[in-house]
Point group: C2
Chain length 408, copies 2
């Protein structure tokens, strides 16, 4: 008998029929003797409907009022799921964010969780009830409704699991686990039975969008045992995300290949090489609210230096504009760029204790004539920027090279 | 400079365009120097959508969870209206039922208001903000979301006006006031400039469905100055509902004619006339959760008695069934009924000081060969049950007879 937090996303509760299926799944866990807390998102499409309604009134909706509106989506789902459970004889009780006292800061539309009062939930679990909590939402110190930002329901689930010291937090989604890479690109991709938090962080931020990155950080911080499972198929253990490396397990050097097309490269060439120049360039980009990912600086000729960095693709034009406006001031010879690039990364905890992983990656890409434009490395990751037309090829090549292809 | 509570129903906030119109109307009251608290319903159609969704899961939805779901309708409207006001430069802040601390009892789907904390609202009004409150909803002592039942937003508005000691509570609806009778039946019907609470209570309960009866009772109890106005047309003073008779005003004897087709007659004939028999019959009906309206008892022949009473038309079959099942037990000779009847009533405070009003009514109906099946009277009302096919004719005849037709 364990205490399990289950989270179901918008697709999993996207219709009355699917909500009834979720109820059956929850009932099964109860029948197995577990205490269950369920976190749900808004029915798929509902949040978009509310956003559209709000934007008909204000193009950029007032954040406090936007949260009031958006939070209704999850509130409808909790009521429906509680009813679905009761109608099959399982006692259940729903809570909105404020009812469960999921306290956040005041940052509307992207609030951070500060505290959770578990008293009501514990009492209900003691009474044999399933507790249903609206994901994505909380309440600020002054009693305003807040929301946690995109994917916030995952964060709600992990935070509740942490507060309740749950044995496991199960994230039900439309995939049955974390894969070594996207199976749509590499049919040989395999589901990982376990993945470490560090690997998951790199995989999530690089585009394996199974879990929201903040929820993974949260789980790591509070040592929550996290599992990703499919809500659409029966059976399967999904992927367990562990917060510490199992010393007895022999790990592959590389555990997954991530790729990301939301990339554009900016080059600032021939800038006088003097102190503060990097800040002047990157500070200008940051002031325009543009996030920078990979950054490289090369020594140029005759006392100048060259900068290259990547930005999200939909910020490409804006980044070019602000830097072209700055070109004269900083004395750059050229500001140019390319938005037909992509990033491919190999991720693996095993890299830490193995040398030559990066060079093996570069050799494999070179063998297929894939040119590398930029390189960045971290302790457990090597990323390369390449022409986007080679993205699928590069991913397949690396997946095979590092022995990730499923056995035939 | 006054403190005004304005309430807008579902039709008045039924689209983004209409919400913007409400914002303009509120802005106008602000510009005139008034403090404004706005109470809104769910956008028309939204409550029905939520009810249908809930009933897809449970035919009779769990009351606590039903309230969780239903209350989202108003929550969306408050956010949208706050945004609409801000976008035209009027500071505004929205509150759900629990945020404003509109405390109710635990009677889910038909809760009664117990207390309102006006501190937050007063502070906002002091700051020059428009306060927007979700109608129809509150929070129970143990922190559950409750709803107030059909038309509950009117009750919310009156309760807020009472708590804030507002100068006036304005109910905006799709009619421009209270009429002497339904203008669709009698084109000569006139808008009343004032109507007393007592008259309004009789008119509301008899089918002039401008205001929910509970809100009128509430207004009477707390002496709230209540006005019904049209949200769809500009100008017009609507109808003021006063809580005490103006001694200087010469009132018509009859101020309005109400009619109600939601009636069915039940007859229980030839019952042994012994103590407790009325209770046995009517108690059985009450136990089946059927409301009884008019009741008459006649002495029959040979120690028997006859009962007739009316029930809502959709309870007619059920009422017949439970009484036919009882027929043998109570020794009744016959249980029969008729569901093609209607009730027509004349209402007026002036009746109290005038004799002969009822007989004038009966004479007028007789002159047009309209047969009266049942009669019931109160201090300010006379109701008759007649064949439903005469409803319009009877209403027109009485409207003219009591001098209510508009001047040509």
């Amino acid at each position: 008998m364990a205490l399990i937090v289950q989270k179901y996303g918008g697709t999993s509760v996207g219709s009355v029929e699917r909500i009834k299926n979720v109820a059956k799944r929850v009932a099964k866990a109860r029948a197995e003797g577990h205490d269950v807390v369920v976190v749900v998102s808004a029915m798929s499409g509902e949040t978009n409907r509310l956003v559209a309604l709000a934007q008909e009134i204000q193009e950029i909706p007032d954040p406090r009022e936007f949260d009031v509106i958006l939070s209704t989506g999850e509130q409808v789902t909790i009521g429906l799921l509680a009813m679905a459970l009761k109608s099959i004889g399982v006692e259940a009780k729903s809570y909105t964010g404020w009812q469960v006292a999921l306290k956040t800061d005041n940052a509307h539309t992207k609030a951070r969780i500060e505290d959770i009062d578990d008293a009501k939930m514990r009492a209900d679990l003691q009474d044999g009830k399933v507790v249903i909590v609206a994901g994505f939402q909380g309440v600020s110190g002054n009693g305003d409704i807040t929301t946690l930002g995109r994917g916030g329901s995952d964060t709600s689930a992990v935070a509740l699991a942490a507060a309740l010291k749950a044995d496991e937090c199960q994230i039900y989604t439309d995939v049955d686990g974390v894969y070594t890479t996207d199976p749509r690109v590499v049919p040989e991709a395999r589901r990982m039975e376990t993945v470490t938090f560090d690997e998951m962080l790199e995989l999530a931020s690089l585009g394996s969008k199974v879990l929201q990155i903040r929820s993974v950080e949260f789980a790591g911080k509070y040592k929550v045992r996290l599992r990703v499972l499919s809500s659409l198929t029966e059976g399967g253990d999904g992927t367990l995300i562990t917060f510490e490396e199992d010393p007895n397990m022999e790990r592959a050097i590389v555990s997954g290949i991530a790729f990301d097309k939301n990339q554009a490269r900016i080059n600032v060439r021939g800038v006088p090489d003097k102190p503060g120049i990097a800040y002047q360039i990157l500070g200008t980009v940051a002031d325009a609210n543009i996030e920078v990912d990979m950054i490289i600086q090369n020594v140029g000729t005759e006392g100048t230096t060259d900068f290259s960095f990547t930005v999200p693709r939909n910020d490409y034009k804006k980044a070019l504009e602000v830097l072209q406006a700055l070109q004269h001031t900083i004395g750059a010879q050229e500001v140019s760029g390319d938005d037909t690039v992509c990033k491919v990364s190999i991720v693996g905890l095993g890299m830490r204790s193995h040398v030559g992983v990066a060079s093996k990656m570069f050799r494999a890409l070179a063998a297929d004539s894939i040119n590398i434009q930029m390189i960045s490395t971290s302790e457990i990751k090597v990323s390369v920027l390449i022409d986007e037309k080679y993205m699928e090829l590069a991913t397949r090549v690396l997946h095979k090279e590092f022995g990730l292809d499923a056995a035939k």
